[in-house]
């Protein structure tokens, strides 16, 4: 099987726009949460979220003008803007900017989103109701469709290889990266731009997840303390937004062009719970099976795992995943560090698996496990180190990243140092 390495990274997160900016803030234990600024939260049970910080583009803020012309911005929902920006970053970082037809045809794009243009859909429905169907913009549909990040990125960069997308709720980003890696392994492409983007912090988005009783509601007075995975006082997830994109590349291809290699994609596992539309199976069976498959594909055993980037959303499901990981690792658990970076970023839904894959790769690069912030009183006594409130400098040769989504859809990715 062809080997796949990671040669480019791009991040738009609630901590910052930019890979190193986001990562340094994660390691410093910062939170991206705050009161919602992008719309009036009147009547909502949750009034805070992890928004991408808006600004003039300096100090890690988001300024859409730096990424797209104003006339193009109007034609796409925010989740597509975040995706295009993170993809631009990742492509620039990789140095892969081919011009030959053959190279362009061997470069594909596979970027997903959990929900897509929710805010555009809601606003267009209101507009149509008020002014009639003739006022619906011709850019409404192509500006809200999930696969249009892949479409836009391919058009912008001329990448004419496989053009695909994933929609698996909160597992989207992980599935996109895993599926893209397989396209390279199978020889369908040499380079894939892969990941996820999300921008569902809008009134109907918050209202919908509030109705599912999924969001934290009790921390309006201190939003930065709201996302607290594994803590006994957690009360739901905090919604995040942004995008994470990686450039995946066939190993020999990367070596031949002298590319900077962050790490190696080693394995990918998938499973279904067949249990409940929003809750994970209580025995964590689906989580365990997808982790096992990912390690098997990597040619590794649980004893090889050094770091786990958990799904850990700050909901009741945290301890189900923790139990599944502990059972998988057995006695080796005491040697492993597991953290949830959602404590800092909130839950980016369809982008979560992608940004967390990037954090896992950076954990390997820098030999440091990012902290689980706000973990003051663990709900259970963990058998592994959850990196409470402080980063942990340690050996990390192999990292496992978990993502689980509504519908009982699970994905795990394994990354390692290049062997």
């Amino acid at each position: 099987m062809r080997r796949v390495v990671v040669t480019g990274l791009g991040l738009v997160t609630p901590l910052a726009v930019g890979v190193e900016e986001s990562w340094s803030r994660i390691l410093a234990g910062k939170s991206g949460a705050g009161p919602i600024t992008q719309f009036d939260t009147e009547g909502l049970a949750t009034t805070y979220a992890c928004e991408v910080p808006r600004g003039d583009g300096t100090d890690g803020t988001w300024n859409a003008d730096l990424w797209m012309e104003p006339k193009e911005q109007r034609k796409v929902d925010t989740f597509i803007q975040f995706g295009i920006a993170a993809a631009d970053m990742a492509v620039a970082d990789s140095g892969w900017t081919p011009t030959e037809a053959e190279d362009l045809e061997r470069t594909g794009v596979l970027i997903g989103s959990g929900i897509g243009g929710l805010n555009s859909i809601a606003n267009t429905a209101i507009l149509m109701n008020e002014k009639g169907p003739r006022r619906v913009s011709p850019f409404f549909v192509p500006g809200a469709l999930i696969n249009l990040i892949s479409g836009q990125v391919s058009i912008k960069h001329g990448f004419r290889g496989p053009n695909h997308s994933v929609v698996t709720a909160c597992s989207t980003g992980a599935h996109a990266i895993g599926d893209a890696a397989r396209l390279i392994q199978w020889g369908d492409a040499d380079v894939m731009i892969a990941g996820g983007a999300e921008a569902a912090i809008c009134k109907i988005g918050i209202a919908g997840f509030n109705a599912c009783k999924a969001l934290s509601t009790k921390r309006a007075d201190d939003p930065q303390a709201a996302s607290r995975p594994y803590d006994q006082d957690r009360d739901g997830f905090v919604m995040g937004e942004g995008a994470g994109i990686v450039v995946l590349e066939e190993y020999e291809h990367a070596v031949a062009r002298g590319a900077k290699i962050y790490g190696e994609y080693l394995g990918y596992g998938l499973s279904g719970d067949a249990y409940h539309i929003t809750a994970p199976s209580e025995d964590g069976d689906g989580a365990r099976r997808c982790m096992e498959m990912a390690l098997k594909r990597a040619g590794l055993t649980p004893a090889d795992v050094d770091y786990v980037n958990a799904h850990g959303t700050s909901t009741m499901a945290d301890t189900i995943e923790l139990g599944a990981v502990e059972r998988l690792l057995g006695d080796h658990a005491k040697n492993v560090t597991m953290s949830s970076t959602k404590s800092a970023t909130g839950h980016l839904l369809g982008a979560a698996g992608a940004i967390e894959a990037i954090f896992s790769i950076l954990a390997i690069r820098d030999q440091v496990a990012p902290p689980t912030i706000n973990l003051d009183n663990p709900a259970v006594t963990p058998k592994l180190d959850l990196a409470p409130n402080k980063k942990v400098e340690r050996k990390i040769d192999v990292a496992l990243s978990n993502s689980f989504g509504f519908g009982g859809t699970n994905a795990s990715l394994v990354f390692g140092k290049v062997r």
Binding site: E69, P70, K71, E72, R134, R135, S137, P138, F139, P142
Partner: protein
């Protein structure tokens, strides 16, 4: 320039992101101002909104240039 022409020009500049000097009488939205077929649909919608008129699809198809738009709107409004 008439009031209608000024308002039409403002919409064209804003929607197509072009410089004002390029929006001349015979400037074609598609050939000269970089619009695609979806841009022209949106432009016509913006004209309808701005001037409170309805531009039927067959009439919209004949609005190819800035001058066409000003002429049609001046007669309809």
């Amino acid at each position: 320039m008439s009031d209608v022409a000024e308002r039409v020009k403002k919409i064209v500049v804003e929607h197509l992101g072009v410089e004002e000097e390029k929006v001349t009488e015979n400037a074609s939205f598609i050939d000269d101002l970089g619009a695609d077929s979806l841009d022209t649909v949106e432009l016509v919608m913006a004209f309808e909104e701005e001037f409170g008129i309805e531009i039927p699809d067959d009439a919209a198809e004949n609005i190819q240039t800035f001058g066409d738009a000003v002429k049609f709107i001046s007669e309809a409004a």
